[in-house]
Symmetry: C2
DNA sequence: AGATAGTACTTGGCAATACATAGTAGTATT
DNA sequence: AATACTACTATGTATTGCCAAGTACTATCT
């Protein structure tokens, strides 16, 4: 039990939520997503992100298309499916409930 | 991938934080803790709580004493250790950073 | 044309926790 | 003594973030 470990535990489920949030605003490929997360100070590397994107795609929450790049190989651009959009709404609710619960516990005296 | 499952994932790490928060205010035994969590709409059953209390005790974040009850068997009253108190401060920071990151991602347009 | 660097993506295994479920044991009541 | 209530224990499962190494495509340089 150390704080780095618990930080990783706290990200479970939340990372998926963040990715769906990011993709609800614009389509993006992996490097875009990593940068958005980094701007919000949520540091994620490719080895974490790609498996999660694959899982979300397999669960039909995301789809992707290939797009050429002028700077290297083609890129997978991800977007939310309709199923992904409604799932995101449910996650939004879950996250609100969780943060509300923690807030309530935190301020009780 | 269903929302109940992701809710459970989101609780990973957070439940520990909540328990330490509750115990930072008053000593409590398991049933007290379950009730505090329930008031904050975080429903937890004994089969989840006891193993976690044991883990926290084994990590020296908590200690306990037995106390007689007039209503049944004796009860284990838990309290934070000094180590638990400083760990809680670190978790506080982690939680703030996580919720801030999610907030930032959520409001970006 | 071949070598190198940069970019994008894949894969498999590990660690850790919430949860479920079944169980044991002490105490109070009938 | 039997039953109900209360408190706690134990074990295995499911799931996800993480790690690290890898493959492959493209651009650039020699």
């Amino acid at each position: 039990m150390n704080v780095e470990n618990t930080k990783a535990q706290m990200r479970k489920g939340v990372l998926e939520y963040c990715i769906l949030l990011i993709l609800s605003k614009n389509d993006a490929y992996a490097s875009d997503i990593i940068n958005h997360l980094k701007e919000a100070r949520m540091i994620v590397v490719e080895g974490t992100l790609y498996p999660l994107l694959t899982r979300l795609k397999n669960a039909e929450l995301l789809s992707y298309r290939w797009e050429e790049s002028t700077q290297g190989p083609p890129r997978k651009y991800y977007e939310l499916t309709d199923k992904g959009k409604s799932f995101l709404q449910e996650l939004d609710t879950s996250w609100s409930e969780l943060t509300s619960a923690v807030g309530q516990i935190n301020q009780r005296n």
